[in-house]
Subunit: 373 residues, 2 copies
Amino acid sequence: MTHVLTEVPEVLLMGPGPSAVHPETYKAMSVSTLGHMDAQFIDIMDETSEKLRSLMNTKNAVTFPVSGTGSAGMEATFVNLVEPGDRVLILVNGVFGTRMTDVAGRLGAEVDTIEAEWGTAIDVAEVKKRLGEQAYKIVAVIHAETSTGVRNPVAEIGALVRDTDALYLVDGVTSLGGMPVKLDEWGVDAFYSGTQKCLSVPPGLAPASFSDRAISAIENRKAKVPNWYLDVSMLSAYYQGKSRKRSYHHTAPINMIYGLLQGLALIEDEGYQAVYDRHRHVHERLVAGIEKLGLSMVVDPDYRLPNLNAVTVPEGVDEAAVRQALRNKHHIEIGAGLGPLAGKIWRVGIMGHTARETNVDRFLGALTEELGA
Amino acid sequence: MTHVLTEVPEVLLMGPGPSAVHPETYKAMSVSTLGHMDAQFIDIMDETSEKLRSLMNTKNAVTFPVSGTGSAGMEATFVNLVEPGDRVLILVNGVFGTRMTDVAGRLGAEVDTIEAEWGTAIDVAEVKKRLGEQAYKIVAVIHAETSTGVRNPVAEIGALVRDTDALYLVDGVTSLGGMPVKLDEWGVDAFYSGTQKCLSVPPGLAPASFSDRAISAIENRKAKVPNWYLDVSMLSAYYQGKSRKRSYHHTAPINMIYGLLQGLALIEDEGYQAVYDRHRHVHERLVAGIEKLGLSMVVDPDYRLPNLNAVTVPEGVDEAAVRQALRNKHHIEIGAGLGPLAGKIWRVGIMGHTARETNVDRFLGALTEELGA
């Protein structure tokens, strides 16, 4: 019998995701596959959705994992809400905000943007001004911009959007499970995340949630959602049918959902606040170590993410050579910069199960060695 | 530490998929997650694509697993090839052909159909006649119609399509790995499958392949593909980049791809022909047992699938009660009928790792008991 993966080493994943996976989560993913219409699997789906609601701080009935990676979550929120000609405001300060403009544009939206320099946060005053001048169907923003390490002020922006008729769409790919996410308090209408960041589950699912306002907008569309696979009306009849009798839509990724449920249970067990405090504490240890090495952080402390840390590459250092040495000699993965930040920054993730003091210390030791500091 | 899945029993999966998973495949899915841009993971991707090409009998460069379930494969093929107003011919004789009309219609295609009664195959003569009368951008058909157990004559239809300018789109969700699939010989331009049928890997990926003609049609589109997540131009720059330097698109479902690679290796190890013969042999054993019980098969032997067997529910038997007893007392899952066949048939899958004599004997024993025969 061929075993094809005997040579895969254990790499400490400290990049922008995927993050380290807890052994119990791997174990859960290997539990016997059930049928997608099996009553016992439907219980598992319901439990998963309930745990997602709890972690997202929402009562949204339509809360489930989209059967694709985080980017499928982005696609799902836009394709269900956008109709051709809709005016959409996207707040852009990194790769993922930029990606939103592409996704929405392909769907026929009239896309306006407010941009901020990469590495800085969206300016709330600018959003306020724009919303006073122009009506939008959707306002969209990235909570935790994985490409730069910036936390955008999603609560403050939500308060402004609530005073308009717009739907509020938030990307929580890198935030969920690593910092508080409060959909109902912030007035979020459509939200998605990914499993491979602070949930510490391998990539493959995009936990998503839609408010009643969003569902009502979807029900009142002029035309069908131009994406059968991601049509939320059909998906919710499978995931959130009111009775035990669910409508078959597609075959859900059973074992990935097992893994997600286990990942969520681990977070619940530790306690949400304890998990967030751990991220914060480990982040502070990382920043102290980085600064002790004479390096500097890209993002202002007020908008710095705990879980994704952008570090300025010192002058004269070959950033790719350092990353490769970390990976090949020390079995540690960190991320490169993207777009205008390519070659200029390293991205160090301390997400979910990765966020441990020992991991940060191991990384700092290896980095010290490679910089010859 | 909470273990959330302690009460999941091992169910013998003999429905329309998911099918039984080999222990080595579960083990592969639990191998340490690598980063999606890691050189070692890129090797694993390349090996996976190469094994897919071999099993599909194609030289298509653009061959990779779509990051979603089988239905995402259907969405991916249509959304890349259809432009609004394109005339598409869909051959419909079950749920999945019907689904194709919905998928294509949502994308703005002018959809024509040729229909055959559910449980019978598409009539090649009728296709020939239609292709003589009308030009199409795409002709689409289901190879193995999971909802009815019918094998459609994809080779014969392919020979007809090749004489026109149309692109030939084939769904191989239930066929790949259980019966020969010959993309190049049949002239298939766009193909997709699912992992949870004869590949015996949990659901979550849709192995897909696009011919050079299909890629050229995509490159010559008037507008961008209206689906960022499934845009094949961007996906192929990640999965099939000519150099070691791949372009990041989305975070691939790493551990699912591990499982797929292992599932493909198991099929290679056994030998393709041996695997197909096993399906055929186990199918014949099932049919003999079914007929011995006085029951009858829905589909004519000439078009009967080996891997998905539609059995007529005898008069006076409560089909749902039998299915529930099989699941609850015997831990065996079989499938119900869908659409016009709901309540009238059982669907018995013998796909991949499920296709073993012992499984069929166990099922026949349990069915005999429940029918009081």
